[in-house]
């Protein structure tokens, strides 16, 4: 397993956000985490990337326990996140944003290789290369955030709501790209409110409710699960 969460709990002050979550992601998979607002999806992401310390349980990555590791060192190990709400650097140009994604790396040749790869995945980013991040549209910022996360050449890509606030056309497009990234060899864990898209693209998925995992299965299984349909897919 590339990533294993074992009984992870996390609290914001007195508010318990995660109650003993266990999940795993195998090398080469796309795994989706779906659930309603406040279910703890983003918190799970933050626990994995190291933005919040876990209060209990362990996170193992690539066979090693990273639960106590500093966030910046997790990036070095190969965990990369595209944060919720995009979190791009508004005053930096598109190129500078992407370079920021390669912050922990030193090999210039490899970095420009990856820059080209991002520009191939997102031709729009090439066009906007010198524009500052803050001037981009919502969809473009999302692409930039995903592209930037790829710039660390991660083993595991964490995507927090990649489709948030995007037009249906763009949602399709961004998921196409996620699948493409995955086919090129990057393991993906993504958090989504758009359960339809997430489940139809993911190999496996977990359903999160109030800080607990209530269901897991392959994307197809969950897509046809009556309870999931009822709660998250908006069809009777």
């Amino acid at each position: 397993m590339l990533l294993e969460l074992d009984n992870v709990s996390l609290a914001y002050g007195r508010i318990q956000a995660l109650h003993g979550i266990s999940l795993n992601v195998a090398q080469g998979e796309i795994v989706a985490l779906i659930g309603a607002n406040g279910a703890g999806k983003s918190t799970t992401m933050r626990a994995i990337s190291g933005l919040r310390p876990v209060s209990e349980g362990s996170i193992r990555f690539d066979g090693q326990d990273i639960s106590k590791l500093r966030a910046d060192l997790r990036v070095v190990r190969g965990v990369s996140q595209s944060p919720e709400g995009r979190g791009i650097f508004p005053g930096m140009s598109v190129r500078e944003n992407l370079e920021m994604g390669a912050y922990t790396r030193k090999n210039r040749a490899e970095i420009s290789e990856d820059l080209e790869r991002v520009f191939t995945l997102f031709p729009r980013m090439k066009e906007r290369e010198k524009q500052s991040g803050g001037t981009l549209s919502g969809g473009e910022q999302q692409m930039l955030a995903v592209g930037r996360a790829l710039m660390s050449r991660p083993k595991l890509l964490l995507l927090d709501e990649p489709s948030m606030g995007l037009a249906p056309m763009l949602i399709q497009q961004i998921f196409d790209i996620i699948v493409e990234i995955n086919e090129q060899g990057t393991t993906v864990l993504l958090v989504e409110q758009n359960a339809q898209q997430a489940l139809s693209r993911a190999h496996r998925a977990y359903v999160l409710e109030t800080g607990r995992i209530v269901k897991e299965g392959t994307g197809a299984e969950l897509l046809h699960d009556p309870a999931v349909k009822d709660a998250y897919l908006g069809v009777a």
Binding site: S49, G50, L51, R70, A71, D72, V75, V76, S80, Q81, P83, G87, I88, F89, P90, G91, M92, S93, R95, E96, E99, M100, G101, A102, Y103, T104, R105, K106, N107, R108, I111, K130, Q131, S132, G133, G134, T135, R148, S152
Partner: protein
């Protein structure tokens, strides 16, 4: 660290594209920029003789205060503005207690050199010997303040830093033997050096040499900060300022770079204090009031936070405007306008903030960030 790949790319076209003196300056070839810089430096060196220039000269120089002294005041205010600009402008950490570092620099010098100091028997050093030690103490103080505040942001950080400066002032007022409160320290030695006539260069009658000393220090600080800003350190500060969480998941070790910002800011503030103590020869707790911090912050914001040219201009103005008002009486009550300095000052700042909220010489990135925050507050 310079071998890493995130050295800032050349962004000539995107950020210096248009508008204003800054835009013009950015578009010029290197040699034009070099000439402009040298000319500006020469003019700065000649500032003590500004009064001799016909017509404009008398308008520029101050009346109620000796012009070279006023220039020296400007020089340490500019230093403070440059230092605070690193903390607030680059790293985005709102520090309301910056005077604390100025105070530590000055007290450090006084403790090691003044005859009034408890330590005098052991130290009794020269100004030059005391300066590096005082600066080391100030930097350590920067780290001490930085460490517990690393997890704080925005308003919370501001309050803690405010408290920090107050603690130093209160300790100074309430330790009659150690930091000597109102009585303060006398006989702090001046910087060393003798002229060809055998008189000390840094005397008590003429502040011009002190201004030049201050100017020299400013130039060194500018070069140092500029190098930092263009390095990986500067890029890390920028990322932290724009989005701390995003910076962290890019692999920026945010705690370390925030501490760096505090330490470097403290160092520069301490430099101001060391110079100040060396020129005045006397300091007491009255010097280091909270207003001072607020004033310097106002200077940085007014000049253009995040931009060194802006910080320099802002720092110079906050010192120059009140000094220029000295010795001029208003036509109605015949009071010295200096008494109204804070009122006048307030009006000037309000006008500038209404007309140019991004500061007189803004940082282009900062302008973009402000726009972005507005979007967050009121999404379209």
């Amino acid at each position: 660290m310079s071998d890493t790949a995130v050295a800032p790319s050349k962004e000539k076209t995107s950020f210096r594209g248009n508008g204003g003196v800054r835009g013009w300056f950015g578009r010029q070839p290197t040699w034009v920029r070099a000439i402009v810089t040298v000319v500006a430096l020469v003019l700065a060196i000649l500032l003590p003789y500004a009064g001799d220039v016909p017509l404009i000269g008398p308008q520029i120089v101050t009346q109620g205060i000796d012009w070279p002294s006023s220039l020296f005041n400007m020089s340490y205010y500019v230093l403070l503005a440059l230092g605070l600009n690193v903390v607030v402008g680059y790293a985005g950490l709102l520090d309301l207690g910056y005077v604390g570092f100025f105070a530590i620099g000055a007290y450090g010098t006084a403790l090691l050199t003044s005859r009034d100091s408890l330590l005098y028997a052991h130290s009794g050093w020269s100004w030059l010997a005391a300066a590096p030690v005082a600066l080391a103490i100030t930097m350590a103080a920067g780290l001490i303040l930085g460490w517990p505040t690393l997890r704080l942001r925005g308003d919370y950080l501001a309050i803690v830093t405010l408290g920090f400066a107050e603690i130093i002032r209160i300790v100074a007022t309430s330790t009659p033997n150690f930091l000597r409160g109102d009585r303060g320290f006398t006989n702090i030695p001046h910087p060393p050096g003798q002229g060809s006539d055998g008189k000390p260069i840094f005397g008590v009658t003429d502040a011009t040499p002190y201004f030049w000393l201050g100017l020299g220090v400013i130039v060194v600080v500018i070069l140092g900060v500029r190098n930092l800003d263009r390095s990986r350190v500067g890029r890390s500060w920028l990322a932290i300022r724009e989005d701390e969480e995003a910076a962290e998941i890019m692999g920026v070790r945010t705690t370390r770079f925030k501490l760096w910002a505090f330490a470097i800011g403290a160092f520069i503030g301490g430099l101001g204090g060391v110079l100040f103590a060396g020129e005045q020869g006397f300091i007491n707790s009255q010097t280091f009031v909270l207003q001072f911090s607020i004033l310097v912050l106002a200077g940085v914001v007014m000049g253009g936070s995040g931009n060194m040219a802006g910080a320099i201009l802002g720092g110079a103005l906050i010192s120059y405007i009140p000094d220029r008002l000295r010795g001029i009486s208003d036509p109605f009550f015949h009071t010295d306008l200096y008494e109204y300095r804070f009122a006048i000052f307030g009006v000037v700042i309000i006008v500038i903030m209404v007309l140019r909220p991004q500061g007189l010489i803004p940082s282009r990135r900062r302008a973009m960030e402000l726009k972005d925050r507005e979007k967050e507050v009121a999404p379209q």
